[in-house]
């Protein structure tokens, strides 16, 4: 793993007994001695600490916030101009065909837009934004780690270090002093639980992580449980559940595109693929991302081909994420099916080890979101 990059918490992961794996060019902890299942349950019941420093932290700066936001709106079909100061929202970079280049988080930080992008896409995203926008400066923040503290105990743990943490609502952003470190904190995450994402100067990241882990309720959580947590929460993994070939409507992400950017809105369109995306938002699509519950206990994973019946030879779709949901206590999956088969309660069949196994189209998320609205 010598070519892989290490995060500022690398030594801590090793000291905590993590099993390290290559992920998006980084050496990352997939699990700790607690194990994936217990780490998942711990996050849902107490609090988990995740190292997500592999993700890209990017500042987009213009003459002022509005200039940077207006520029980004030419690449992102989201209301960025209307975002209040110190508020964050989910967004998408789209391509000319209406597909999704990446999904990301956008925050209004007063004088700039702070963007967090996927690790595997960050170099492309930065190049794409830089090449397509004039009058703005795109700067990757490389001297900060990114931690996530997730779970019902997260608020009490973080508020013990800075009381302001308790006052934040879901998707609020604030600068907090955590153990002497100036941290950029958002009340958000990728687990479906309440919690925070914390950008911390790299030099202070290990001390902060240790201070958080010193709380009895907090355990370190690896990528394995991060994946099962986000899957139960119905959240997309870029490159799997959404990609350059899936549109926002197909990905069931219409909610991410605010009215002001839709047909009839004050700033409708004006982003790559707007013709396709806005037409689909009005008239629907042929296929759609749905939740799927395999019957029985056998997990059905990414790549399992879906059929309309036990005997039909023509595939109708495919699973894009699947595994065991520890909180659900059974297998869960997401995938694409024709809109004709997307109604909740529809039975479809997955090809598993030469057999056709039934799955039921189910509402997402599988586990209720516990956000502090």
């Amino acid at each position: 793993m010598s070519d892989l990059r290490k995060t500022p918490l690398h030594n801590l992961h090793i000291a905590l007994g993590a099993r390290m794996v290559p992920f998006a060019g980084y050496e990352m902890p997939v699990q700790y001695p607690m194990g994936v299942m217990a780490e998942h349950v711990h996050t849902r019941t107490k609090a988990g600490l995740f190292d997500v420093s592999h993700m890209g932290q990017v500042r987009v700066t213009g003459a002022d916030y509005a200039a940077a936001a207006a520029a980004l709106e030419t690449l992102i079909p989201v209301d960025i101009l209307g975002l209040q100061e110190n508020r964050q929202r989910y967004g998408l970079l789209t391509n000319a065909a209406g597909g999704i280049r990446d999904d990301l988080m956008l925050a209004n930080r007063g004088d700039h837009v702070f963007v967090v992008v996927n690790a595997a896409c960050k170099a492309d995203d930065i190049a794409h934004i830089t090449a397509n926008l004039s009058g703005v400066t795109v700067t990757e923040v490389t001297d900060r780690a990114l931690l996530a503290l997730q779970g019902p105990a997260a608020q009490d743990v973080l508020a013990a270090m800075d009381a302001k943490a308790a006052e934040m609502r879901f998707m609020d952003v604030a600068t907090l002093m955590l153990g002497g470190a100036e941290c950029w904190v958002s009340r958000s995450g990728y687990t479906g639980e309440d919690g925070y994402e914390i950008s911390v100067p790299a030099a202070q990241a290990e001390d902060l992580a240790k201070a958080l882990l010193a709380h009895e309720e907090v355990a370190p959580i690896g990528l394995g449980a991060r994946d099962s947590l986000r899957l139960e929460a119905g959240l997309c993994l870029y490159g799997h559940d959404i990609d350059a070939q899936t549109t926002p409507s197909e990905g069931a992400l219409n909610w991410a595109i605010q009215k002001v950017r839709r047909k009839g809105g004050a700033r409708a369109g004006g982003f790559p693929g707007a013709d396709v995306i806005l037409e689909q938002m009005e008239n629907g699509t042929d296929r759609k991302r749905v939740g799927l519950r395999p019957e029985g206990r056998a997990p059905m994973r990414e790549g399992v081909v879906l059929f309309a019946s036990e005997a039909d030879d023509t595939p109708i779709g495919q699973i894009t994420s699947g595994g065991f949901g520890p909180t659900i206590g059974g297998p869960v999956a997401m995938g694409y099916v024709p809109t004709s088969h997307a109604a909740i309660g529809t039975t479809v069949f997955g090809a598993l080890r030469g057999k056709r196994m039934p799955l039921t189209v189910a509402a997402l998320p599988f586990t209720p979101a516990n956000f502090k609205r």
């Binding site: 994936v36 099962s228 206990r297 994973r301 595994g323």
Partner: protein, 119 residues
């Protein structure tokens, strides 16, 4: 107890052989969430795929270590596949096979040889 290179253990019990996978294997696999066992009465040949194990990470196949007939399977694993993690060589056993050629047992390692292999 005998051991295969595929991390199965084999324990003779009268004229049957009890088969499971080792603690080393279950630790490597991680939390086991589903185990598909053969049917009682199945006749299997050595190296036939006999068991599918799904862990939180991936699916793995376990091969029959001997020729023979499946006489019993561990029904407790259907509801509680985690038994294979908790008690790999005890309550986490997979199946009991009646070997048609007991001399095939001689192909496998003893505990010292297995421990040397995984160390």
């Amino acid at each position: 107890m005998k051991y295969t290179e595929e991390h199965e253990w084999l324990r003779v019990e009268g004229d049957l052989v009890v088969v499971g996978i080792t603690e080393h294997a279950t630790t490597q696999l991680g939390d086991i969430v589903f185990i598909e066992l053969p049917d009682v009465g199945d006749t299997v040949a050595k190296d036939d795929e006999a068991v599918v194990i799904e862990s939180v990470k991936a699916a793995s196949d376990i091969m029959a270590p001997l020729d023979g007939e499946i006489m019993e399977v561990n029904a407790d694993l259907a509801d509680n596949p985690g038994l294979a993690n908790e008690d790999a060589t005890g309550k986490g056993w997979f199946f009991k096979i009646k070997p048609s050629d007991p001399s095939q047992m001689d192909d496998y390692m003893d505990e010292a040889a297995y421990n040397a292999m995984i160390s």
